[in-house]
């Protein structure tokens, strides 16, 4: 075990201790952990809200949420999950913590800007909560569609301001990461020696930087229309409501790639480590990450087939949507090919990664159903869409977040968790997930619309079943986090490389020292060369 002091014992700046040493820190690892705890809080809150929605829907008619309250709860669930959890989850937590380490440097390029991003993130969260307790939380859904959002009496302006501030935090993080990767990479590390997680962060950062201003400006336009009555989107004043949808989805579709790309990066790290085998198609995965970033920016209007936009646009955007499936498929096939004939060691991170591949594939393939304009018309705004979205974003990004937590937890905190509980929790979450969302596909195909607190009698059994799935899932999620968080009470027991990883974070202590490395890290010619690891473990089998 290394004797060097970890970043927990060496605050930066050095003269402050206790809570203050965290609140004014410029250490990327501490900032990453501050994001982690904030994000866990928001995530669990939004999980509970989602559970309330599902509980209301278990039985026909009004049970304990009124129609208005139901609208507010699903809006709050969506806003928190999207803006406060999924978008920042992987880049802000694991990107902040591991990006500098993976490229062999001591911090991000703009450490103070990094701290500012965290404060903006927290400010955005506080503003969202304030909007809840002022004039009632908006009932527009997280999409803030006009003309409803410019005419409803609820507090849309404050909620929109929250999204604006959160967008700023996201942009600054993206800018910081791009600059760090360009300017602070270890001198021995060329572009094609970077780990795949870092590559996906790079692609994501560009999307964050380029697409986020569009939504920020659009949300300001909504506020301007609400307060000043300028006819931007209101047709009675010469505005164009479909223009809002274009502007909204110009950001929000690329945003789903902001959410999923780092998740794909996490899976690309985990699969080769536990297959003890070089990743299949490194360059193809790198290229597909960049291709997703570009192609994902071309398909936004596939959310708008029924909005009344031109048929030409429907045709073009439907065609482009099918193109974006190709790079995603390249990744899935590469992961599966990596597992093929690998020396597989099953661990909780690998188990969660395999669940990711399955759930994300279902999400991706049902996306093609929605991307086809003809089929889309029938299932648009039904529970089919809700289920597809949760399969990609929760089954995808959410599970990648869980996998990343289990993979890097020993590195971040120096403590290993209980494997058995981790497996039980993962099985509960995955089983509950399938039990919860598959009935929603069927309900959607049967014609049950989304965003209503009540439904016709024929939909009752499906909703009743989905409620049980949700219960299993929520229990599993809380068990998973309890298992991880309870390790903080015990002594540090994780070695510097408990998994047999070979990217640079496994060359330093667990948890890492303040400046990440005490000796110059060794950059491999090829970042996924497991020859040394295989030799090491073939001599001495590794226990937990």
């Amino acid at each position: 075990m290394e004797t060097v002091k970890s970043f927990f014992e060496t605050p930066a700046p050095a003269r402050f201790k206790g809570v203050l040493s965290w609140l004014i820190t410029t250490d990327h690892k501490r900032i990453g952990l501050m994001y982690l705890f904030a994000i866990i809080f928001w995530f669990l809150l939004a999980v509970v809200l989602g559970g309330l929605l599902r509980l209301e829907l278990m039985f026909q008619g009004e049970t304990f949420l009124s129609a208005q309250l139901y609208n507010s709860v699903f809006t709050l669930h969506g806003v928190i999950m999207i803006f406060l959890f999924i978008i920042p989850a992987l880049p802000a937590v694991f990107g902040n913590f591991f990006l500098p380490i993976q490229i062999g440097t001591d911090d991000v390029f703009f450490p103070k800007l990094n701290l500012l991003s965290w404060y903006l993130y927290m400010a955005g969260g506080v503003i969202a909560v304030i909007s809840l307790f002022s004039d009632g939380f908006p009932d527009t859904g997280w999409t803030f569609y006009v003309p409803f959002s410019i005419s409803t009496n609820t507090n849309v302006s404050t909620a929109v301001s929250a999204a604006f501030v959160l967008g700023l935090a996201s942009m600054l993080t993206g800018l910081n990461f791009i600059t760090t990767i360009h300017r602070m990479r270890n001198r021995a590390m060329g572009w094609l020696q970077m780990p795949l997680f870092t590559w996906t962060l790079y692609a994501t950062s560009w999307v964050q930087l380029l697409a986020t201003p569009v939504i920020s400006i659009t949300l300001i336009l909504v506020v301007i229309e609400r307060y000043l009555g300028v006819g931007l989107f209101d047709p009675s004043k010469g505005g164009d409501p479909i223009l809002y949808q274009h502007l909204f989805w110009m950001y929000s579709h690329p945003a789903v790639y902001i959410m999923i790309l780092p998740g794909m990066g996490v899976i690309s790290e985990i699969i080769p480590v536990f297959s003890r085998k070089s990743i299949f198609g490194y360059k193809a995965i790198v290229a597909s990450s960049m291709a997703i970033a570009v192609a994902g920016s071309l398909v936004w209007a596939h959310h708008m087939y029924t909005s009344g936009m031109s048929d030409t646009a429907v045709f073009v955007f439907s065609l482009l949507t099918f193109v974006v499936a190709i790079p995603s498929a390249i990744k899935v096939f590469s992961w599966v090919a990596t597992l093929y004939k690998g020396s597989i060691q099953m661990t909780p991170p690998l188990f969660l990664s395999l669940c990711f591949i399955y759930l994300f594939s279902v999400g991706g393939l049902t996306g093609l159903v929605l991307g086809a304009a003809g089929a889309n018309i029938h299932v648009h705004d039904t529970h089919f869409v809700v289920s597809h979205f949760h399969f990609t974003m929760f089954g995808g990004t959410g599970f990648a977040f869980f996998a990343a937590l289990h993979y890097w937890w020993p590195k971040m905190f120096g403590r290993m968790y209980n494997f058995k509980i981790a497996y039980i929790a993962s099985i509960l979450v995955t089983g509950g997930f399938i039990f919860h969302y598959v009935p929603m596909f069927i309900l959607g195909l049967q014609g049950m619309p989304r965003r209503y607190y009540d439904y016709l009698p024929q939909f009752e059994s499906g909703n009743f079943l989905a409620g049980f799935g949700a219960a299993f899932m929520i229990v599993g999620i809380f068990l998973m986090f309890a298992n991880l968080l309870l390790t903080l009470r015990k002594d540090r027991d994780a070695s510097s490389d408990p998994w047999g990883g070979i990217t640079l974070e496994w060359q330093t202590a667990s948890p890492p020292p303040l400046h990440n490395f005490t000796t110059e890290p060794e950059v491999l010619d090829y970042p996924y060369d497991f020859t040394g690891v295989v030799e090491k473990y073939s001599k001495k089998p590794k226990g937990e």
Binding site: W206, L210, A211, I242, S297, M309, T312
Partner: protein, 95 residues
């Protein structure tokens, strides 16, 4: 990694010329709005605005003197903006 620490001071004369050019282009934008070119009105206005934006970025924001990485980044943003605006016309132009 490229060295981008050099300082650049742009002379007043150049800055003034760019400013005048921006005024002229604004005048052209206003003038062009009186011509009825159908769909092309929007494209013309966007074209002139793009030139103006490029001048501001290159001279007032010193992008002309930056390294390759920043210039490519700048071109990336222009490309992105081009996609955003032009693809909207798949809808607007064919309604």
């Amino acid at each position: 990694m490229e060295n981008q620490q050099e300082q650049h001071i742009i002379g007043y004369k150049t800055l003034l010329n760019v400013l005048l050019l921006l005024f002229v282009l604004t005048g052209i934008t206003v003038g062009a709005s009186y011509l009825d070119l159908g769909q092309l009105n929007v494209w013309l206005a966007l074209f002139i605005a793009a030139i103006k934006g490029t001048l501001v970025l290159f001279f007032f924001m010193h992008m002309k003197y930056e390294g390759r990485a920043l210039r490519w980044s700048f071109l990336g943003t222009i490309f992105f903006l081009f996609i955003m605006i032009s693809f909207t016309f798949w809808d607007v132009a064919f309604r």
